[in-house]
Symmetry: C2
Subunit: 131 residues, 2 copies
């Protein structure tokens, strides 16, 4: 993987059960569970219930952030998992979300953030504060 400050998984989940993603009440344990399963460090989280249905939420992490937005009318959840530190944490959180949301198809991109930083060897990055 290229050097950078973090890994960002950008994923759109299709074919997700509409009832499951209609409310923050049902999304909350899934999202918080992903943070825990990925051994990520939560600073804060906030959720918002759309009317009549649909939910958004964002978790500010010491390692960056995890966010979701749902469109129950399309069975769609858009997810962002952006972490610095061990890249496996993002992969684990992602795997947890796939397992809990059970999409029928996924569109995903994984990108390296800050990959153009100069004179930044791996040791320097490891020593930088988590974001």
């Amino acid at each position: 993987m290229e050097v950078g400050v973090g890994i960002h998984i950008i994923a759109d989940f299709y074919g997700v059960d509409s009832e499951l993603i209609a409310t923050t009440e049902r999304m909350y344990p899934i999202i918080e569970g992903a943070v825990e399963y990925g051994r990520l460090t939560k600073i804060s989280s906030d959720y918002y219930q759309f009317r009549p249905k649909g939910a958004s939420g964002i978790v500010l992490l010491a390692e960056s952030h995890l966010s979701f937005h749902t469109w129950p009318e399309y069975g769609l959840v858009t997810l962002d998992i952006y972490t610095c530190g061990d890249p496996k944490t993002a992969d684990d959180a992602f795997a947890y979300l796939v397992d809990k949301l059970r999409p029928t198809s996924i569109s995903t991109r994984k990108i390296v953030r800050g990959d153009m930083i100069e004179e930044a060897g791996e040791n320097q990055i490891e020593e930088a504060a988590l974001h």
Copy 2:
């Protein structure tokens, strides 16, 4: 532009003044200003100060979210502006951030989220709740 539920601008700003991006105190008005300039609808926002320096913040929007993470040691700010509705709002917020942060170089991607939703004409999308 392809049909989808929203536009996501993923940008890494390099060569930004380290002092400017070292604290939430200085980043707060820039981020909140971008939300206002883009005519976006803030639901909530949260900021975190890293020690000794570095800041993260996230704004939950009715239209999705805007987030940033700074690495003053690299002059780096990573930004995400994800909006549904009028795509110009994301472009305007982005332009505001370029103007205020004055990076020497930018790496940017613009992607359509949820572009594989089926049988979703533009009218249907416009009628869907904002996220």
